[in-house]
Amino acid sequence: MTSLDTHSDPVILEMRTITKEFPGVKALADVNLRVKAGEIHAICGENGAGKSTLMKVLSGVYPYGSYTGDIVYQAEVQQFKDIRASEHAGIVIIHQELALIPELSITENIFLGNEPVKRGVIDWAEARTRTRELLARVGLREDPETPVKEIGVGKQQLVEIAKALNKSVKLLILDEPTAALNESDSQHLLDLILGLKGRGITSIIISHKLNEIEQIADSITIIRDGKSIETLDVKADGVDEDRIIKGMVGRTLESRFPDHEPKIGEVLFEVKNWTVGHPQVQDRMVCKGSNFFVRRGEIVGFAGLMGAGRTELARSVFGRSYGRFITGSIYKNGKELHLKNVKQAIDAGLGYVTEDRKSLGLNLLDDIKTTTVSAALHKISKHFVVDTNKEFTVAEQYRKSLRTKTPSVEEGVAKLSGGNQQKVVLAKWMFTDPDLLILDEPTRGIDVGAKYEIYGIIQQLANQGKAVIVISSELPELLGLSDRIYTIFEGAITGVVDKDDASQESLMKLMTSARKTA
């Protein structure tokens, strides 16, 4: 449905029949995108559908000549040869991974590569003044001299936008802007984007959070398998989440969670009085006397805002891989465990799927088969020699059972989409055959179709009698998946709610207030 009728609204950007090929893969095939001036245009699609590639073509990361098709921007065919060229034209892209330099101050970051110069010397006074104005526009109350590393991810995102505004942006592209943000920061950011729209700035937003898109987008272009499928007008077409999902996966998902009949057994794993000190900051506790337990076959959710201490709790339990001055006790099947390092934790039957896939979960230089066996090398080796045939067989087996999309298990993990990377990470931990598997944000940055599959895998693990802990920022996910949910606020467990009694509102209350019940 790419044949949009010509509306009266002026079109700021039109991408016509864009085709981009990588060796052996056609990432984009005849994609069309038409963005009206002053609107918020969302691009939806599963991971690997080609959204980010399309934006990279637009912003000049893939220069003119490396793709076919035309980019018509402000009524002219553009031939961007790099990012500077597209920025010069007023197109600014904010990537999922922020491009700020942590050691530099907000001012220095905003003016990086664009420093105001007076007689050959940087005019910092001018820069600071302008930074203050920009920060006011994005609603960020911070001293312009604060190093970026000292402010949270949410605020860093705002700094990025201020930086874009400073470049007199006309078309702002946001790639998964809220993926790392908590609810209130997300809301603030969305409001800001709406505010920018009021000032005539056009935005293109890529997001997996469909509720947000529904909330702010004027139109939505759906991309599937490198092709533009359709463009929806949100108000006129009465688009809702289900409608978007239908477009993205090409079918209606009956339910976003697979059906699951929990088979819960006895208590398998229990943590008592768990207290953890911050690794750098003296006298700061990231976990305060936490008590929790998980039963066989049970999926337990951990809800909490970013920075509440969920990851810290999980990692400190997982072989003390985080924090110091750790006290408390861990019991498995009623027997106390003394875990000094990750290796002992794995040997004791624990597994931990990290929150940050790329920096903590994967060695991006590895291929699929080496990654799959990397946490349980002893299972495929004899006298410390790795049996590479077994390695191949094991990886192949998981590729099939988890339906990882890849030409072969010898492919590098860096080439996979987020969902498929996550499947490889899951395979790695499933191969260690843990009794307790902790999953930290298992579906972050993963598209709807792959999410559904990953939920299925998690439920399957629980059905095999394993205990599963899921940490997530997405409350609907926890509500749909967990049998029981603990809430965490500022390092302390503030409550535990059974699935049937839980609602987003009740959880949110517990996640934002001090201990009521334990």
Binding site: P23, L362, N363, L364, S374, V385, V386
Partner: protein, 425 residues
């Protein structure tokens, strides 16, 4: 071109490396009017570079793990002088001397490994300090004198395989070694192919395998011929034998064992490795310690070759070893590199050195050319990576680790200028 690529697994970089080496040899063979591929020159080349190549084996592991070792030259010199003194003053036999040298290497390695792995000081700093420290120790212990070693100790640095069996006109042990190498290559290639087929993995076409085997075996046999027909009393050199054994062992360790996997994992992403149960401190410690042991060995071989230990032994070796590793496709950021790639990288430098010397090119020009080669090789790699290809020479191992076998694949070696320089100093 495509057919050639297929032969080497379709990897541009790896193809490029081997191709560059072969092209260099062919070029110098013509330019020197046949003086490159003579038994005498090839043997000389091997003798003169084996210790650098041994260092490159340790260095590639250090670099894969994400570190660097600047101290290897000084460590080699310190171990060399200590062993020479122990043999002369305490009168210990040569084999105890070697054991002492290896133990001293291990001790030095433990020292550097401790600071790197457990205290967390970057290896660059630790080994920069080590470079000064052990050079100082070398001159302190040896009082900056030249200390000769006895003939039986010289055997490890300048000995040859002995003549045994019937008079065939060749050196029989060298012939045997060559034939074993060929058998090993053919056997492992065929076995790898069979298991790959059984597992349902992709296998190259039949003619590819046959051509590859013919080429590799041809190279081995030709090298065998050169080594076996040297001037009487010479044959396959002992340092070359030590090197071949080490290449086999470390090639195997790095690609096939749990420890090897852990080294790559730590270098590729330390956090991910730790969260997968890899004890990264231990790995870093072992890698640094191993490097110092090999440096000790290289130092002893050099002393054996030059019949005496001196205060300027090993000056600049670290740079030769590091250059070999990077030409061989390792990444500065860690996680990437192979033992065999580094050996090929070292050979490229060695052949270049030797050929230029034969042509009578001065040390000044030789250095300029070597510098440019290093730069261009790495630039080629970086360019390939930016094009999104997997440039990593790592693939070398997959198709070439086995084929190399116990015999040197490339019939060539050089007397390094380094050696001449340190002699003169």
């Amino acid at each position: 071109m495509n057919a050639l690529k297929k032969l080497f697994g379709g990897n541009t970089r790896q193809f490029g490396m081997i191709f560059a080496l072969v092209a260099l040899i062919v070029f110098f063979q013509f330019a020197t009017e046949g003086r490159t591929l003579t038994p005498g020159n090839v043997i000389n080349l091997f003798n003169g570079n084996s210790y650098i190549l041994i260092l490159a084996i340790g260095m590639v592991l250090v670099i894969i793990a994400g570190h660097i070792d600047l101290s290897v030259g000084s460590v080699a010199a310190f171990v060399g002088v200590t062993v020479a003194l122990a043999i002369r003053d305490w009168g210990i036999p040569w084999y105890l001397g070697i054991l002492l040298g290896l133990a001293l290497g291990a001790l030095i390695g433990a020292w550097q490994g401790f600071w790197t792995a457990y205290v967390g000081i970057p290896a660059f700093i630790v080994t920069l300090a080590g470079m000064l420290l052990f050079r100082g120790f070398n001159q302190f212990v040896g009082k900056s004198n030249t200390i000769p070693v006895p003939a039986d100790f010289q055997y490890i640095g300048s000995g040859y395989l002995p003549e045994v069996g019937p008079n065939t006109g060749f050196n029989n042990l060298t012939l045997l070694l060559g034939l074993l190498g060929v058998a090993f290559v053919v056997f492992s290639e065929l076995r790898a192919r069979r298991t790959a087929k059984a597992l349902g993995a992709e296998v190259p076409e039949g003619w590819v395998v046959v051509t590859k085997l013919v080429l590799v075996c041809g190279a081995i046999l030709y090298a065998t011929y050169l080594f076996a027909t040297g001037r009487p009393g010479t044959s396959f050199p002992i340092p070359g034998l030590i090197l071949a054994v080490l290449v086999l062992i470390y090639g195997f360790i790095s690609s096939k064992t749990v420890v090897g996997r852990h080294v790559y994992a730590v270098g590729g992403n330390r956090h991910a490795a730790e969260l997968s149960g890899v004890q990264s401190k231990k790995v870093n410690f072992l890698v640094m310690m191993n490097m110092a042991i090999l440096a000790g060995l290289a130092g002893m071989i050099f002393v054996g070759r030059s019949t005496a230990s001196g205060p300027f032994d090993g000056v600049g070796w670290e740079l030769d070893a590091i250059a070999a590793v990077f030409i061989g496709g390792a990444a500065v950021t860690g996680g990437v590199g192979t033992v065999i790639g580094s050996i090929v990288g070292g050979l490229v430098m060695a052949v270049l050195n030797n050929g230029l010397q034969l042509l009578g090119v001065g040390a000044d020009l030789t250095q300029i050319i070597k510098g440019l080669v290093l730069l261009i090789a790495v630039a080629f790699d970086v360019y390939n990576k930016s094009q999104g290809k997997r440039s990593i020479i790592g693939m070398l191992t997959q198709s070439f680790n086995r084929p190399t076998g116990g015999t040197p694949l490339q019939p060539d070696e050089v007397t390094s200028t380094k050696e001449t320089i340190s002699r003169e100093a």
